[in-house]
């Protein structure tokens, strides 16, 4: 029984139940347009979730992902507004993001700072340095010079919003990376037992650096979607609860923070739950604060259900949670 009912399935069941409930009770919920809106509204969260999952599966965590997303994309917009050609400005933002990811990775892999502290510090450094030195304002607007990027956030292909397609592409890439490549197997091996992986000849340190570079790339992509869909990038997003939401969709879907478990499917399930909840409650005109409470209660319910169905055993106790 417990083998069939893991956390991912519980969350999926809750999502389907909620979806059915809203579809029956809310007029206008079960329309193609609304389902697309629903997916669109969580696409950024999903993309960041994929990036985070790649790191978490390898027993890491990237708390700097939101800071990288905000500052790198704001840098691109700011530079292009000040006359730098858009292509070059985009490259600068991308380079900045990857650079930040690599620095985080180096700190963790070579200086052996625990990921949670290294990325926490990096987040503060990136946000502070960006806001005070790199950018002209805390909120950078999309100007006519950066308008050609607009399709990333607002375009449609065959009626499907481009952010949804980008989420699908990122999820597919993440899935292939983790499931079908040697690198992916190595990441699971590192997450399961870094020392054993090292002994068996897995290049642990370079792979850790690579993981953080990959999560930084997803951050840049997610940032481009955010910025082009609201015509601006507010770097104050660093101070928001977005980072917790990202960890939430990763964990709620069933990826253990202790590493080596789960995959992209879990992220998608977690993201869908959040999407269905948010969309249904917005239609119901539930105040934002109450939405957060309801969201948290349902998430807590899923976690409790999991620990009842799958009680802690000796193995999980040994590995430990974060």
């Amino acid at each position: 029984m417990s083998r069939n009912l893991n956390q991912e399935r519980i969350v999926l069941a809750i999502t389907i139940l909620l979806f059915a409930f809203f579809a029956l009770t809310l007029p206008g919920f079960l329309t193609v347009q609304n389902v697309l809106t629903l997916l669109r509204s969580v696409s950024v969260l999903g993309i960041l979730g994929v990036g985070m999952a790649i790191v978490v599966v390898g027993r890491g965590i990237d708390l700097a992902i939101v800071a990288i997303m905000a500052v790198s994309v704001a840098l691109t917009l700011d530079q292009s507004a000040h006359g730098v050609p858009l292509g070059l400005a985009t490259l600068m933002g991308f380079g900045f993001a990857v650079g930040c990811g690599v620095v985080s990775g180096l700190l963790i892999a070579y200086a052996e700072v625990p990921a949670i502290f290294a990325t926490l510090a990096m987040a503060a450094i990136i946000a502070g340095f960006g806001q005070s030195r790199l950018l002209s304002l805390s909120e950078i607007y999309v100007t006519p010079a950066s308008e050609p990027l607009g399709w990333i956030g607002t375009g449609r292909v065959l009626g499907v919003p481009s952010p949804v397609l980008i989420l699908a592409a990122v999820a597919l890439a993440g899935f292939v990376l983790l499931r079908a490549t040697k690198l992916g197997r190595f990441i699971y091996a590192i997450g399961d037992n870094p020392r054993a992986a090292h002994v068996t000849g897995v290049p642990v340190r370079p792979i850790i650096v690579l993981q953080f570079a990959l999560s930084a790339i997803t951050a840049f992509l997610a940032g481009l979607i955010t910025a082009t869909s609201v015509s601006s990038m507010n770097t104050r997003i660093v101070d928001s609860t977005l980072i917790y939401d990202i960890i939430l969709v990763v964990v709620i879907g069933g990826i253990g923070l202790s590493g080596g478990k789960g995959g992209i499917r879990n992220v998608i399930v977690g993201t869908l739950l959040i999407g269905v909840l948010q969309n249904g409650m917005t239609i119901l005109d539930t105040p934002y604060d109450e939405q957060s409470i309801i969201k948290s209660v349902i998430l807590l319910f899923a976690i409790v259900a999991d620990s009842i169905v799958n009680p802690r055993d000796e193995q999980t106790a040994q590995q430990g949670d974060i």
Binding site: G28, Q33, N34, T37, R40, S41, V44, Q131, L137, S138, E139, Y141, T154, T226, S229, V230, S231, S232, N234, T235, R236, I237, D239, S240, Q278, N279, T282, I283, D285, P287, Y288, D289
Partner: protein, 328 residues
């Protein structure tokens, strides 16, 4: 001969003038103005700061900013520290009505003149410069009645996108809106949600609202920076011509750009350059008034400017660059 007289007179006049200006310069020298905003890095606060600095440089008094960066604890610490440093004038932008109220009283007791800008605290101080948010709400609601109410031939359906629910700016604007709408049953509020000043949240909310209410007629948004998100959801749904979005803010070039491209229908602006010069007048008054707090409080309500496609050609918007360039 006459020429010599004239020159002497001119020289004498010049001397008096120099003496007078030396006196004014001396009058302000050694005095300090300190500004504690909610956060720098926004057009509003950077705009005020540029104007305050401009006058300080011109008249030779010291101007400094302590930036709490949206953290009211840091802001409270900065104010406490400033109270011991005793600047002549302290300019405070309150993040909410409560948090600095005791410190404002303490500062005034210590002989520091306090100017509150735009967001009022429950503790009154010598000077207040700012918009009347209740009136702002009323004016926005009036626009909704005019655009969507009975006789307009529209559905009468409107949505409201608030900032942080507990912020004074949200509470007071809502009071103003309620006051007007209670008299207009023809206006129906189909959605009233808080987006926490966050454009992404505003966008997600508005996308669903527009879709659920295809005949939506108007939206009142509470801050222009957030409402670029509201507006882009409306635009993306192809409803920009049908849904009238009224927002409010400092009236910088961003507002004009967004009105120009149709994202905003109108912006009620509390005119940052005007607020800056009002504060500068208060600073001079406070500096000449001596250390005791005034018995009567000076309140300057900033008149609201309506920025719309029809008016931006004549009134225009300000840019931070202009203000900073003027300040040198």
């Amino acid at each position: 001969m006459r020429l010599r007289h004239f020159l002497t007179a001119l020289a004498a006049f010049g001397l008096t003038l120099a003496a007078a200006s030396a006196q004014t310069a001396d009058q302000y020298k050694g005095k300090t103005v300190a500004f504690v905003p909610v956060a720098l890095g926004y057009d509003l606060e950077d705009g005020w700061s540029a104007i305050l600095k401009h006058q300080a440089d011109k008249l030779g008094y010291t101007y400094e900013v302590r930036n709490p960066n949206l953290n009211s604890d840091v802001g409270a610490q900065a104010i406490s520290q400033l109270i011991t440093e005793k600047p002549t004038v302290l300019v405070i932008q309150n993040p909410d009505v409560q948090v600095y109220s005791r410190l404002i009283k303490k500062a005034e007791k210590a002989g520091i003149h306090v100017i509150q800008i735009n967001m009022k605290s429950v503790a009154p101080s010598d000077y207040f410069v700012g918009a009347d948010y209740v009136q702002l709400g009323q004016q926005a609601a009036d626009m909704m009645v005019q655009k969507c109410g009975a006789g307009s031939g529209k559905s009468g359906k409107i949505a409201i996108v608030q900032g942080v629910l507990t912020a004074a700016a949200s509470v007071l604007q809502m009071q103003g809106i309620d006051a007007v709408l209670s008299k207009h049953p023809d206006i129906k509020v189909v959605s009233n949600q808080a987006a926490d000043w966050d454009s992404s949240k505003a966008r997600a909310i508005m996308q669903t609202v527009v879709q659920q209410n295809p005949d939506l007629c108007g939206v009142v948004g509470f801050w222009d920076s957030m409402d670029v998100g509201t507006g882009s959801a409306i635009r993306e749904a192809g409803k920009a011509a049908q849904v009238f979005l009224v927002t409010s803010g400092g009236g910088s070039d961003t507002a004009c750009t967004n009105i120009d491209n149709g994202t905003f229908g109108a912006e009620l602006s509390y005119d940052v350059p005007r607020q800056g010069s009002d504060m500068n007048k208060d600073i001079l008054a406070a500096m000449t008034a001596g250390p005791a707090p005034d018995a009567d409080k000076v309140t300057q309500i900033t008149p609201l400017k309506v920025l719309s496609k029809e008016t931006i050609g004549t009134t225009g918007c300000w840019t931070l660059k202009q203000l900073q360039a003027a300040a040198g």
